[in-house]
């Protein structure tokens, strides 16, 4: 018969706060570039998928399907161990970042494509009538409004990416989750260590949502105006 009443003791775990701070910083260092790069590559991929050049749209679709239907853990292992066994050595951090970008870009591609498909043809025709160049039409009439339409979905996806970066602890990237497993083996307080890390992730995801929301307020000033008027 085990102890039914467990006495929580966070003191030994909390004493390791500098380690947790380092871990959180590495989680941010992984998530931020992965978000920015994932958005860029995902958007390019969405443009490719909508392209009338058949092989290009096929290739982009193929990439999206492959990534979305396999686990991130396996993708990370493939990049880290697989490439190393082929003689191409990448650091753990590099492999983690690359696989996170590859992963999130596929999801971003699908979201951006849905956003771009939601733009009415009439809008594009109107823009052409106004004499906008093709690049101008793409940027002002298709891309930005599309992103505005799917902004909530993008936000959730990037928060999910930050949470998923916890999996990179499995290839010895010293981010938050890895720190928790070090601390728990030092202090023999696994429950407390992981609860503390869960709280840290909650705080990070809240911060991230606020940050992305604030960014949206700046970039999509038009929506703000419409809301004020409406």
């Amino acid at each position: 018969m085990g102890r039914m009443i467990y006495e929580f003791d966070f003191s030994s775990v909390l004493a390791e706060w500098p380690q947790f701070l380092d871990g959180a910083w590495l989680t941010i260092q992984l998530s931020f570039p992965a978000t920015v790069l994932g958005l860029c590559i995902g958007t390019l991929c969405a443009i490719g998928r909508r392209s009338s050049v058949r092989p290009l749209s096929r290739a982009c679709g193929f990439y999206v399907e492959i990534i979305r239907n396999t686990p991130l853990l396996v993708q990370i292992f493939l990049v880290f161990f697989g490439l190393a066994s082929l003689g191409w050595h990448v650091s753990a951090f590099g492999a983690a970042l690359v696989s996170l970008v590859i992963n999130v870009a596929a999801y971003t591609c699908e979201i951006m494509r849905a956003g771009m498909d939601s733009i009415h043809d009439g809008q594009i025709e109107a823009a052409e009538c106004l004499g906008l160049t093709k690049a101008q039409v793409y940027w002002h009439v298709i891309l930005l409004p599309a992103m505005e339409n799917v902004y909530p979905a993008l936000t959730s996806q990037f928060v999910l990416l930050m949470l998923a970066s916890s999996i990179t602890s499995q290839i010895s990237v010293e981010e938050l989750t890895a720190v928790a497993s070090h601390v728990q083996s030092d202090t023999f307080r696994p429950f407390e260590a992981y609860i503390l890390v869960a709280v840290a992730y909650l705080a990070l995801s809240l911060l991230m949502r606020i940050g992305i929301w604030a960014f949206g307020q700046i970039v999509f000033a038009r929506r703000r105006k419409i809301k004020v008027m409406g």
Binding site: T70, L78, G82, V159, Y194, A198, Y201
Partner: protein, 223 residues
């Protein structure tokens, strides 16, 4: 070298692991589905504290990584005096994880049924339970099917994390083989292929259902 490369026994071992992946997915889907239904109902409850409680629950689960949830249940319950196998810990954390996400998806589907349907049902003097069961849910289920099938892909993929607590599913089986023959590229590629074979049909099915639903939801011309 002792290793003789990848052979048919290894493939058999991998497929056996894949079976456990499916098994864990099924446990997660059924358990998470039941709990998710409760979460969805709590989220639309007329009693405000229940709504808030469910909201806080969903926010906490959706704001922490599944991996951390897995560790919390693995270590947390073992210190409560229960020695946990990987399967039990993975099942518990997957059920919690799935319940939060499915609950939120289903809440959205229930709330997307037109408000007038509630009002009309109320005019017919149905009780709240009757309104929900006879009028709202049958319509919500149709809307909910494509995203639910889509989420099953996430479930299957996320069972891969169970390998980290030592449960021998597909990824763990691959790691064990890799330890003996050391051909990571081949093995992880094979594992990815098996996951793809399990997930792609679900993705395609979800897309097909969605297309059908959009066709049905399209405003019909007035006659």
């Amino acid at each position: 070298m002792i290793s003789s490369g990848f052979n048919i026994n290894h493939l058999y071992f991998l497929l056996n692991g894949a079976l456990w992946t499916l098994c864990l997915s099924l446990i997660a889907f059924i358990g998470g589905g039941v709990a998710g239904g409760v979460v969805a109902l709590c989220r639309i409850s007329p009693v405000a504290p229940i709504r808030w409680l469910a909201y806080v629950y969903v926010q906490i689960i959706q704001g922490t990584p599944l991996l951390v949830l897995l560790f919390v249940s693995y270590f947390g319950l073992s210190i409560a005096g229960l020695t946990l196998s990987g399967l039990v810990a993975a099942s518990i954390s997957m059920v919690i994880y799935v319940s939060a996400y499915l609950g939120e998806i289903w809440r959205g589907c229930i709330q997307s049924v037109a408000r007038t349907q509630w009002e009309a049902a109320e005019c017919l003097a149905l009780t709240r339970a009757q309104r929900l069961r006879l009028v709202i849910l049958p319509q919500a289920v149709r809307i909910a099917t494509p995203p639910t099938v889509g989420f099953m892909v996430q479930i299957v993929k996320n069972t891969s994390l169970a390998s980290i607590v030592g449960f021998v599913e597909l990824v763990r089986a691959g790691q064990l083989i890799n330890n003996s023959i050391f051909q990571p590229f081949l093995i992880y590629l094979l594992i990815a292929g098996i996951y793809f074979a399990m997930c792609y049909p679900l993705s395609a099915w979800s897309r097909k259902l969605e297309g059908r639903l959009q066709y049905k939801m399209r405003p019909q011309p007035n006659t």
